[in-house]
């Protein structure tokens, strides 16, 4: 069980001892008695999430670009120094292994963050390439500072320069004198930043942020709140919304990026990448699944509760056990995660459906169980993301 460099602070604040284990790292689920409070801090003020545990690889050397371009589906040669790229990567059959962010730090120097540990895959692909791959997971601590006031807070600590940081930019700077790398990225779909720092400066960085952050009601947030925000943002989660092809046995458990709505991040016209041929064929034939948003019809849900003489109840946490989706009694897909969205006042879910049902506006039936009895509520197909505030990408003040 590993603790992140922020543990001295996060452990003090995690009043409920509400931890879980993520890849053998201690991860806070929620700090305060109510994670909705944390959720609202992300959406209306600002909040920090400890992302230190995320696997990170520093890939550098003459063939770093070549290696990455062989592995990922995005075209890395189109990612300038100082830019970050979201990208999936696949196996030979074009099935997704994982996704992550790729930061172009310097000429021939990249950092890839991944969902699962990925060193073996990076090394396996580096045959005959002149490239170094360092696992820097434990030598870099990270904080995601997210929310509408995150820019104001950062500006106060590191200067006006931060104003110039565009969506998916990354830069080296200082926060209250501490050397850091800041990227305008995040997993909440809001205005936000990710800050990378040497572990020995981690606690100091935390303290400086919280000292200045008081004016913005800065609080830490845990995984429960993060889940709600990432679902609103329509961002997929490995092991929940899709499985890594490396971790499942059966073909039907695997997904391609095209099925996951990530086609925009698959550059089929690149010279070569692992899975390219299979994805070209899939594209030509049309993917077997489409990934969409669902908005649950609360009236129909309320009617189901009424059958049991119960008032409508919407659990405050996100859920992530897949549920079947039907159309006229036939199963047409599944919803893989969902949540009550306090800001949208909607019950939403991410779902994978047969393509003919993926058109926005299509009405489908989603399974709900009450006291283990199966019922179906109406839901409407919508485009992802559910929540996309202009401030996420905009420059200047919110």
């Amino acid at each position: 069980m590993k603790q992140t460099p922020f543990h001295p602070r996060t452990s003090e604040l995690c009043e409920l001892y509400n931890w879980s284990l993520w890849s053998n790292w201690l991860l806070v689920d929620m700090y305060a008695p109510d994670h909705t409070h944390e959720y609202f801090a992300v959406r209306t003020a600002c909040a920090v999430f400890d992302i230190s545990m995320i696997p990170k690889y520093h890939i550098h050397g003459p063939d770093a670009l070549g290696l990455l371009n062989r592995i990922v589906t995005q075209d890395v040669s189109r990612c300038a120094v100082g830019r970050v790229l979201y990208t999936p990567w696949c196996d030979d059959e074009g099935k997704i292994i994982d996704d992550g962010l790729l930061a172009h730090l310097d000429e021939g120097s990249f950092r890839l963050t991944t969902g699962d540990p990925m060193l073996y895959w990076l090394e396996d692909n580096a045959v005959r390439l002149d490239v170094s791959i360092d696992d820097v997971t434990e030598s870099l601590a990270g904080l995601a500072l997210q929310g509408p006031f995150s820019r104001d807070l950062l500006k106060q600590l590191s200067g006006e320069e931060i104003e110039k940081l565009a969506y998916f930019d990354i830069t080296k700077t200082k926060i209250a004198g501490i050397p850091v790398e800041v990227s305008r990225t995040g997993y909440t779909g809001d205005l936000g930043y990710e800050i990378w720092v040497q572990p020995q400066h981690a606690v100091q960085l935390w303290d400086m942020l919280f000292e200045a952050g008081e004016a913005y009601r800065l609080i830490p947030f845990g995984d429960f709140a993060l889940e709600m925000t990432r679902i609103e943002a329509g961002l997929l989660l490995t092991d929940v919304d899709f499985n890594s092809s490396m971790k499942v046995v059966h073909e039907f458990q695997k997904s391609s990026p095209l099925e996951l709505g990530l086609g925009w991040a698959v550059k089929l016209d690149k010279e070569f990448f692992v899975g390219q041929e299979a994805l070209k064929q899939e594209k030509a034939r049309g993917p077997a699944w489409a990934t969409v948003g669902l908005e649950v019809d609360l009236n129909s849900l309320e009617a189901i509760f009424a059958e049991f003489d119960m008032p409508l109840y919407l659990p405050p946490e996100a859920w992530s056990e897949a549920v079947p989706i039907y159309s006229h009694g036939e199963q047409i897909g599944k919803a893989t995660s969902g949540t009550w969205s306090p800001i949208l006042k909607k019950s939403i879910a991410i779902a994978r459906l047969k393509p003919q049902y993926a058109k926005p506006g299509t009405v489908v039936d989603m399974e709900v169980t009450i006291d283990a009895q199966r019922k179906q509520a109406k839901a409407t197909v919508v485009k992802l993301p559910f929540y996309d505030p202009p401030r996420k990408k905009s420059m200047g003040s919110h």
Partner: protein
């Protein structure tokens, strides 16, 4: 990742376009067999060999003035009779000299066990050590032959590409039905039980004498890197029998003029059908165009194109050197990298002033030592010889296969003198400590001392000596990690898994690139079967 083709314009190298239908890389015996068959079928074939001579692991070299040696392979009985006839090798100078006995196995106590081609004669010899074993031996040989018969059928057809079996595969598998039906399903069940066994377990079921077991077991490990207690070594024994024209577990016979004469006859045959052979021509790269092999580039920069390219060299060189693995599926790269080589043999050649006297041989010495003198007196000796290899160390008491080819072919040495060649096991390629320069001396002394235990006057007969280390086998003869068969024939590297799963049919993920070396099915030995099978697939592809 190198962008190699752009160099071409700069170097001012020559280009030969459309002159050949097929380029064969490597003039080992399999490359030459493939070239022979393709040329015979009317194709314009060019063979390119890195070394100054053809033959690969089957060559004759004059290490000392007047003394000629089969540098690596020496036993000739594996060469497919079909290849000999199809390519008229006898007309092109091939002469195979029989040797009998197969094995002369001297014992530390001065006795000896001799294995003759004749089964009853051998049984009589075995009776010296055990009456029960003498009675069991003919039965053992019968079983060996019947199992090997099934394998011989399999050797000559491309194994199905599991799991994606095609209709064509089913048809070729039909060839398998008749022999299996003749033998009965009971036999098939037996074969399946026996092949994965360690040879030690199998022989323990048959024999009681440690001498008998050791003498037979040695043959099963002669082409594999492992010792007799490892799984699948029983398979190796049956494989030997399935490819050997003597229908026994060890190769015998010599090629007049040494093994190089065999590959020379293959080269002559190929040339007679119109093939061209260029030595001193090292291939640097297989040139590709949108996933298709379109030719090769030599290290001197010359580009030669052809409709098909056949790699008659090992997989590591083919896929990680000739081709840029950058453009291959990850699974394939991984499989190629995982091929086990890990050679464990060395070869020592002596120039002898006179014949050493093997104490155990007595008066019959000239005949008894004319086959293979095998120093592996017992099964435990053999296993102990292997044990240190697991830790990267060499055998202090090695297993030796000793041949004195001048006894059957006096042309190999000056009048009255002799050549002696020794295959030494086990000397691991991956040494835990020490370097190869130092090891050269160590191996020489080790082998000399070991032979002297059985022939006390040996050292005084020695005039000169050359040691070929596992590293030399890689560096000079281009066999990766000194493995004699381009990848160990362990159970996970045979049949549809040879050279790698999914590509057992002499084809590759690269269009128009074929394989034909010992790395392919059915495996190693100077059989020519790989080349023959491969040429059949290539001919289908060229249509």
């Amino acid at each position: 990742m190198e962008n190699k083709t752009s160099e071409r314009e700069l170097s001012g190298a020559k280009e030969l376009r459309n002159k050949y239908d097929v380029i064969v890389i490597g003039a080992g015996h399999n490359g030459l067999v493939t070239a022979g068959y393709l040329a015979k079928a009317g194709h314009r074939v060019l063979v390119l060999e890195k070394r100054e001579m053809v033959g690969g692991a089957a060559v004759t070299e004059e290490f000392f003035p007047g003394y000629k040696y089969s540098s690596l392979a020496s036993g000739a009985s594996a060469l497919s009779p079909a290849v000999i006839t199809d390519l008229n090798l006898h007309q092109h100078g091939l002469e195979i000299l029989p040797t009998d006995p197969l094995i002369f196995s001297p014992q530390p106590d001065g006795s000896h066990l001799t294995i003759w081609h004749d089964v009853t004669r051998t049984a009589d010899e075995i009776a010296k050590y055990s009456q029960a074993d003498a009675a069991a031996y003919p039965q053992f040989i019968k079983v060996l032959r019947s199992y090997s018969q099934i394998m011989a059928v399999l050797n000559n057809i491309p194994p199905p590409d599991l799991p994606d079996v095609r209709w064509g595969d089913m048809i070729s598998l039909l060839k398998f039905v008749k022999p299996v039906r003749n033998l009965g399903w009971e036999y098939v069940a037996q074969v399946i039980r026996v092949l994965p066994m360690p040879i030690s377990d199998l022989l323990n079921e048959w024999f009681e004498s440690n001498v008998v077991k050791g003498t037979i077991a040695a043959s099963s490990v002669s082409n594999i890197s492992w010792g007799p207690q490892e799984t699948g070594t029983a398979f190796a024994l049956f494989y030997n029998c399935s490819v050997s024209s003597n229908n026994l577990f060890k190769f015998s016979g010599r090629v007049k003029g040494g093994m190089g004469a065999l590959t020379k006859s293959l080269a002559n045959a190929a040339k007679s059908f119109g093939a061209e052979i260029m030595t001193n021509s090292e291939v640097a790269e297989i040139v590709m165009e949108s996933g298709h092999a379109i030719g090769i580039k030599l290290t001197n920069g010359d580009l030669i194109t052809a409709a098909a390219v056949v790699s008659a060299v090992d997989m590591r060189t083919t896929f990680l050197k000739f081709i840029d693995p950058y453009f291959l599926d990850q699974k394939i790269v991984k499989h190629i990298q995982n091929i086990k080589y890990r050679g464990t043999m060395a070869r020592v050649h002596y120039a002898l002033d006179e014949l050493p006297s093997f104490t155990a041989a007595g008066a019959d010495v000239q005949q008894l030592i004319s086959g293979t003198v095998q120093i592996a007196p017992t099964m435990s000796y053999l296993q102990k010889a292997y044990d240190p290899v697991k830790y990267g160390r060499y055998s202090k008491r090695p297993y030796l296969d000793i041949q004195i080819p001048t006894l059957t072919d006096s042309t190999l040495a000056p009048e009255g003198k002799h050549c002696m060649s020794v295959t030494v096991k086990y000397i691991p390629f991956h040494l835990h400590e020490g370097d190869w320069d130092e090891m050269r001396g160590v191996i020489r002394q080790l082998v000399t001392d070991t032979i002297s235990e059985y022939a006390p006057d040996f050292e005084s007969c020695v005039q000169d000596c050359k040691v070929i280390t596992p590293l030399d086998i890689e560096d000079v003869y281009n066999l990766p990690e000194g493995n004699p068969v381009h990848g160990d024939m362990t159970l996970d590297q045979i049949l549809w898994m040879r050279p790698i799963p999914g590509y057992a049919q002499y084809r590759t993920p690269v269009h128009n690139l074929y394989l034909c070396s010992a790395a392919t099915h059915p495996g190693g030995g100077v059989t020519g079967i790989n080349g023959k099978n491969s040429s059949r697939e290539i001919l289908k592809g060229l249509k």
